[in-house]
Amino acid sequence: MWTINDFPTYGMLSGWGTHGKLACPHCMEHHKSFTLNYGCKTCLFDSHRRFLPIDHPFRRNVKAFRKGEVETDGPPPRLTPMQVWRRVKDLPKITESGAKRIDGYGEWHT
């Protein structure tokens, strides 16, 4: 990825926790991950069909991928620098608020 380090270090450097459901720093809250019932791990099994063209036959395939599911969503949006700035400019500093977790933790940010 971006850094010369590996993925867990990327999480430490960037502040985006690269674990769990919100692991992908590109997809962010538009993820499609779920937890496996027996394996008890986060899985991104069905998160790639959305990147395909809208008329691709894989999107309508109900047998080969997840049972009986058809993909209709488009790919997650790519943020512009201004959008990123608007998201992060109002975040409180940890020295100011004292709270370890701000609102929306685990839902749309980590």
């Binding site: 692991a23 496996l36 027996y38 394996g39 099994f45 790639h48 990147f51 790519r78």
Partner: protein, 201 residues
Amino acid sequence: MHTEKNFFDNIFNIVMNVVGKTKDNDKARKDLALYCSRRDLELKAQGNGKMVKPKANFTLSTTEVKQVCCWIKKLRMPDDYSSNLTRCVDVEKGRIHGMKSHDCHVFMETLLPIAFSSLSIHVLNPFIEISYFFKDLCSTSLNRESLLRMEENIRIIIRKLKRIFPPSFFDSMEHLPIHLPYEALLGGLVQYRWMYPFERW
């Protein structure tokens, strides 16, 4: 760089069926029955109350694993191309240990299609494609059109892998190659971003 290494490790362990490291275990097969409709891979009940795991088409048999290990044992690389892979292989246990990230890079891009050539063709093809994908991404010159084409291709390659492997194979590391061409588009050639010269020794 580590995306490529982790991807290679996962593919290698699941195909060589390394005990303890493969992601194709009993729990994975139970999840497979829950989320996918692939009857041939589901656990089957035996008469004595035990469950048996059918052999998957993406794993090599024990003799084929031995053959691959013996082949790696005899490999001779050009000077400075990679480290001595013959030291890393354990023929008795059929596993590889102590590969540096650059060795994984070399194996992924050049040796993977040859090592797994005994697999059936519809399983082998996505492996060859993912191998060429990383080879193209690491080439010394990239242009915008080829990156956009690679971005289209990797989406289909990952989907092909999903038709073969169980859901537990796909953690976040198998998702990240999707975004690598976009990052190369913004960040430039991988030679200036991936630290192989320093991680190599």
